[in-house]
């Protein structure tokens, strides 16, 4: 660089460089499109997070209906771990982070305090998740994940594993017919059981026996050949949160 060039004002140098490189300002629509893309990605991540949230709600809301009563608190805790929506918590956190990152990269995203952003995202995901849950997305995702993901068992699968064990006194199924002193129950394999009430069965529990309703029974087999079962306790185990997806359509694989 010559001495003369060293003395040249930087404004001249920059203008010369602009001319030499034929540099022009990047069009405004590029920045607008980029900003829009960031917000869209953030919104998409928020929606995916809300879907994960709806599955968390679905699992938690049905937790009490998956397992029959157990003998000890330790067993209850083991059941809780088995059914806890850990995968969906992880999914929720991952998408929450992605949404946070995208919002931060928008034009004014850096202005938001971390606490404000986190609170907004948790509330938005919770509200959207509750709406999605009521529409049945939690149920649908739980079923789809159980069908397609390895090591992932859905609420209904777990329910069947534990409640459908007549030899150990657990029976589940849909009430096929209700009579005055007994009822018929269709089990997950399509077999019909003749169910009689024990003397200890509470009257209130008997009211749970409604045709087409799914119930869980605690009792004992009286006759395996004729599939006769004596019920002592009756539990409501209808899966909650099916929304727009009636279980008969979705239950083909199980019932």
């Amino acid at each position: 660089m010559s001495h003369n060039q060293d003395q040249q004002p930087i404004s001249e140098k920059v203008l010369e460089r602009i001319e030499a490189e034929k540099a022009v300002p990047t069009p405004r629509f590029y920045f607008r499109a980029r900003n829009l893309a960031m917000w869209s990605l953030a919104a998409a991540a928020l929606i995916f997070g809300a879907l994960a949230c709806s599955t968390i709600i679905f699992r938690l809301h049905n937790l009490g209906r998956i397992f029959p009563p157990r003998a000890s608190q330790l067993e209850d805790f083991y059941d809780f771990l088995t059914a806890a929506p850990l995968l969906w918590f992880a999914t929720f956190i991952i998408f929450g982070y992605l949404a946070y990152r995208e919002v931060r990269q928008t034009k004014r995203g850096y202005k938001y305090e971390l606490s404000t952003l986190l609170l907004t995202m948790v509330v938005a995901s919770g509200v959207l998740g509750a709406i999605f849950y009521n529409l049945g997305s939690g149920y649908l995702i739980d079923r789809l994940a159980a069908d397609h993901l390895p090591f992932q068992r859905g609420v209904e699968m777990l329910q069947r594993e534990r409640w459908f064990n007549p030899e150990h006194g657990f029976l589940m199924g849909e009430v096929a017919e209700k009579r005055e002193k007994d009822f018929l129950l269709s089990d997950p394999r399509g077999n019909v059981w003749f169910v009689t009430y024990a003397t200890t069965t509470a009257a209130g529990e008997k009211e749970l026996v409604v045709v087409a309703r799914r119930v869980g029974l605690l009792g004992r087999i009286l006759n395996e050949q004729t599939r006769t079962f004596e019920v002592e306790q009756i539990r409501p185990i209808e899966v909650r949160g099916q929304g727009l997806f009636p279980h008969r359509m979705m239950m083909k694989g199980i019932f």
């Binding site: 460089r17 602009i18 540099a23 920045f31 034009k107």
Partner: protein
């Protein structure tokens, strides 16, 4: 070509620069000295590198003029570009800006001494040397807020726009930076004013 005495505001010049490069030249003239000094304060760099970096800052600013949000101050926007370019430079060249001593004027020393609530119990020159050394010892995230607040005289909102962090984070970093400096100064015998 215009000059830095133009009656237009920076924001007006930035708008004009989209169609008239002379107005961009005015902006360069207005910011050259400020940004050169700012880059120099951010870390140790050879003069030629500062010159190249400065050119790069103005080129980036020109190419991204349409990204400039007129609701912000132009100065915040161009300081942001300078800051980002400097950070990239340090990363590219594997330079740690910490340890770099900044120059302190008497006036700045007085402002900082009052802000830090430390008594000047030694000669001004001694205090200046020590404070400059201690600022250099701060982590980069604290150094940069100290530089912007005290050396570049930027408000919290401007610092937030330059560093692209929330204003609350600026306040927290500044408070921590001052606490650290105060502790460091006290450990050297500069006692608390009661």
């Amino acid at each position: 070509m215009g000059n830095s005495e133009s009656l237009h505001t920076d924001e007006e010049l930035a708008h004009l620069a989209l169609t008239h490069t002379w107005s961009f030249a005015i902006l360069i003239d207005r910011y050259e000295t400020k940004l050169r000094r700012y880059l120099d304060r951010l870390g140790r760099m050879p003069v030629e590198d500062v010159e190249d970096l400065l050119q790069q800052v103005f080129m980036k600013a020109y190419q991204n003029l349409n990204e400039f949000d007129p609701s912000l101050k132009f100065s915040s926007w161009i300081y942001r570009i300078a800051h980002n370019e400097a950070v990239s430079f340090f990363r590219r060249n594997d330079v740690r800006p910490e340890g770099h001593r900044v120059e302190l004027s008497d006036q700045l020393l007085e402002t900082m001494a009052s802000e830090l609530n430390v008594l000047k119990s030694a000669e001004s020159e001694d205090a200046r040397r020590l404070l400059a050394e201690k600022i250099g010892q701060l982590d980069n995230i604290y150094r940069e807020v100290i530089i912007l607040k005290f050396f570049e005289d930027k408000s919290y909102d401007e610092i937030s726009n330059i560093l692209m962090i929330p204003s609350g984070t600026v306040a927290i970093r500044l408070k921590r930076a001052k606490d650290k400096l105060e502790t460091l100064m006290k450990s050297e015998g500069y006692i608390h004013e009661s």
